[in-house]
């Protein structure tokens, strides 16, 4: 079994060993619970947040503890409910608006982009907009064209929105707390497959500071940046690369906006090679932005080899035979990394290791 990606609260004071293990989904639940307990202005709503399945458990128990005024399912009205969330935030509440698929944010784009992102600026800082949007990226089991999109770059594009995509249970908890405490709108991106990840999570409340990336594995030969679920795949790829003597440094940006370019560029200055892997398309995507920003920063300072990996430039199919080809995985990431390091199309593809492939998710949804 693959070692879970362990993150220690390096930037929070105190303990260095965390005894307790929690799933990513439970870490979200705990963060929401603790923030609601701490601050009575925090409320949670969205389609079905109060139903028996409680959004894969991420909202379980909140209704019982905090009641229907602070935890409620909404009408199927993404546009108006996002607009209402903006109004609530203007009035001093701290709403967490939950979407079980990021695809549904497209119905809320006006309120997110035209209103939420602009409000502080166009009212010259006279108002705050402490709003959290939780949005899930689906994958596997035939989620298909409209239940699988990673659209986070849409939001990175727009000044006034923060975007966070935690990859570990530790960051799932700390980033949600940070998002809730932030006085600006934050899009909180969770990958459906990450919900099953287990990892160390402190019991006490804590927040992960916006705008700081993590070096999740040290290496000398190539910098591999993995976003959201692709962080897991990149750490797996690192094992394949180690077999052939390539030492990859893996970075988790955690926050896509504000993006910690310094940490990534520092690593690339050392390795001279950058592979960015996203759970989204590459064109105009987060991977494009990171590669471009690093290129701008290091050109003329360092010879660079740059590459992006992401969804195939097509619509996500449902059949497993094609779906498998749609996504980067640990092996294709390793192969791309080797080609970059050796500056050649080596044709290499590692032999599959089952322990580097296991995924906890089965359908139907």
């Amino acid at each position: 079994m693959l070692q879970p990606l362990t993150v220690r609260p390096a930037r929070s004071a105190g303990e260095s060993r965390i005894e307790r293990t929690l799933s990513y989904a439970d870490a979200i639940r705990e963060a929401a619970d603790q923030e609601m307990a701490r601050d009575p202005s925090v409320i949670v709503f969205g389609l079905d947040v109060d139903d028996p399945k409680a959004i894969q458990g991420t909202t379980r128990g909140l209704l019982d503890t905090y009641g229907p005024e602070r935890v409620f399912g909404t009408p199927l009205s993404e546009d108006a409910m996002t607009g209402a969330a903006v109004g609530m935030a203007l009035a001093g509440l701290r709403p967490i608006h939950v979407h079980i698929r990021m695809d549904f944010l497209l119905l809320a784009m006006n309120q997110l982009v035209n209103v939420a992102a602009k409000t502080r600026y166009m009212y010259s800082g006279q108002v705050h907009l402490p709003l959290v949007i939780r949005a899930m990226i689906g994958k596997s089991w035939g989620q298909g064209a409209q239940h699988s999109q990673g659209l986070h770059s849409f939001f990175m594009h727009v000044p006034g929105l923060k975007v966070v995509a935690p990859a570990t249970p530790f960051d799932a908890k700390g980033c949600l707390a940070a998002a809730v405490r932030d006085d600006d709108p934050v899009l909180y991106v969770e990958h459906r497959l990450l919900h099953f990840q287990q990892g160390p999570v402190p019991e006490a409340p804590y927040a992960v500071r916006p705008g700081k990336a993590r070096v999740t594995a040290a290496g000398e030969d190539i910098t591999v940046v993995g976003i959201s679920w692709m962080q897991v795949e990149c750490l797996r790829a690192r094992h394949y690369l180690a077999e052939i003597g390539i030492r990859a440094e893996v970075i988790d940006p955690v926050w896509l906006s504000p993006l910690d370019l310094n940490t990534i560029a520092e690593s690339v200055e050392k390795t001279g090679r950058l592979l960015v892997v996203d759970t989204a398309w590459t064109c105009c995507g987060a991977s494009a932005e990171i590669v471009a920003a690093v290129g701008e920063r290091l050109q003329g300072i360092r010879d660079l080899k740059l590459k992006r990996l992401g969804f195939a430039p097509t619509t996500c199919p449902t059949t497993p035979s094609l779906e498998e080809l749609f996504y980067p995985n640990a092996r294709t990431i390793a192969a791309a990394a080797r080609n970059l390091v050796e500056d050649a199309d080596t044709g290499w593809m590692p032999e599959e290791r089952p322990e580097l492939q296991e995924v906890a998710f089965r359908g139907p949804f």
């Binding site: 009205s77 546009d79 108006a80 409910m81 903006v86 309120q111 035209n114 010259s124 006279q126 705050h128």
Partner: protein, 326 residues
């Protein structure tokens, strides 16, 4: 009573006429959507509100801002793009705000503030505050999906909100009859489960009805809907007129101009009283425009301030390479 109302109405009318007069000089560089002819809607409904109540409006929001007591100097300075404007020259005519007067926002995207208003109303109810919300929007906005979605949510949660549809019958140049299968806006509102009624543009009648409806909303009766019939005298955006475009004619406007509440109230006043009000308003307007003229433009550093609360992050990103992450 009528002297006070006359001052409110006349002041808005004169402010906008002055905006229209100055506009061709290009010192106002903000698209202006004038409310000339429609002032009574904002004044009438706001008469029924209390200071703690909150309003949301649209890009056609000068009248609402002023009816709520928004600062005139800061509004004109905003139109001039000056640092002393109500949003330091960042929002312009379409995004006036006066939080101290409960004016919490206006949007250039049709319909959007309807949902924001409902969210604000949810927060008020949640905190058991006695205040209510009034959400102003046009007849065109009722065609947006967010209108229907919001009315449903407002009824579901029995929100303390008054929806005010300012029906001037036009969305830009297109008449309501060419946009709506039936003009029955109130029926649509009722179908969601709230009381709705149409009132004409008469100021006294509007104030009286608004008071009654506001009292019901404040008493916890849930949302209510008023469709106020009115007419836009000028072009959709800009200082001029649009009758020459041929989509409407002055004959259609004539009865509205005859019934103009500004003129009607003026006729009720003693000439000396009227003259006093008018000269005071003229003085105030001259002062506001002079203030705007004399005010400085915002400093260059303002360009990237107010994107996030943590200004230095924005500034750092803007300075790009070499910047420290905060």
């Amino acid at each position: 009573m009528s002297a006070r109302l006359y001052r409110l109405l006349y002041r808005i009318r004169r402010v906008e006429e002055e905006i229209a007069r100055v506009y061709p000089t290009d010192r106002i560089r903000s698209p202006v959507h004038l409310s000339i002819g429609q002032e009574a809607v904002s004044v009438g409904v706001c008469e029924a509100l209390e200071p703690r109540d909150v309003v949301f409006g649209t890009y056609r929001g000068h009248a609402l801002y002023l009816a709520r007591g928004g600062d005139l100097r800061r509004m004109i300075a905003e139109l001039y793009g000056k640092a002393t404007g109500c949003t330091k020259g960042k929002g312009g005519s379409m995004h006036l705000i006066a939080p101290e007067r409960g004016v919490m926002g206006m949007s250039a995207v049709v319909g959007t503030t309807i949902a924001n208003a409902a969210g604000y109303a949810y927060a008020l109810k949640f905190r058991r505050e006695p205040a209510i919300i009034a959400s102003f929007f046009g007849d065109g906005a009722t065609e947006e999906g967010v209108f229907a979605e919001t009315l449903n949510f407002a009824v579901l949660k029995r929100l303390p909100i008054l929806f005010v549809c300012e029906n001037n019958q036009y969305a830009i140049h297109t008449h309501q009859s060419r946009r709506q299968g039936t003009p029955a806006i109130c029926q649509r509102a009722r179908a969601f489960g709230m009381p709705a009624e149409q009132v004409d543009g008469d100021l006294t009648g509007l104030i009286q009805r608004a008071r009654e409806v506001v009292a019901e909303v404040r008493a916890g009766g849930g949302p209510a809907f008023l469709e106020v019939m009115t007419y836009r005298w000028r072009e959709h955006v800009g200082p001029g007129f649009d009758y020459h475009l041929g989509f409407r004619d002055e004959g259609e406007a004539a009865p509205w101009i005859v019934a103009d509440p500004v003129a009607r109230l003026a006729a009720e006043l003693r000439p000396t009283e009227r003259a006093r009000i008018e000269s005071e308003v003229a003085e105030e307007i001259a002062d506001a425009f002079a203030f705007a003229e004399a005010s400085p433009f915002p400093a260059a550093a303002e360009l990237t301030l107010d994107v996030f609360k943590e200004e230095h992050h924005v500034a750092a990103t803007h300075r790009e390479a070499g910047a420290e992450c905060w």
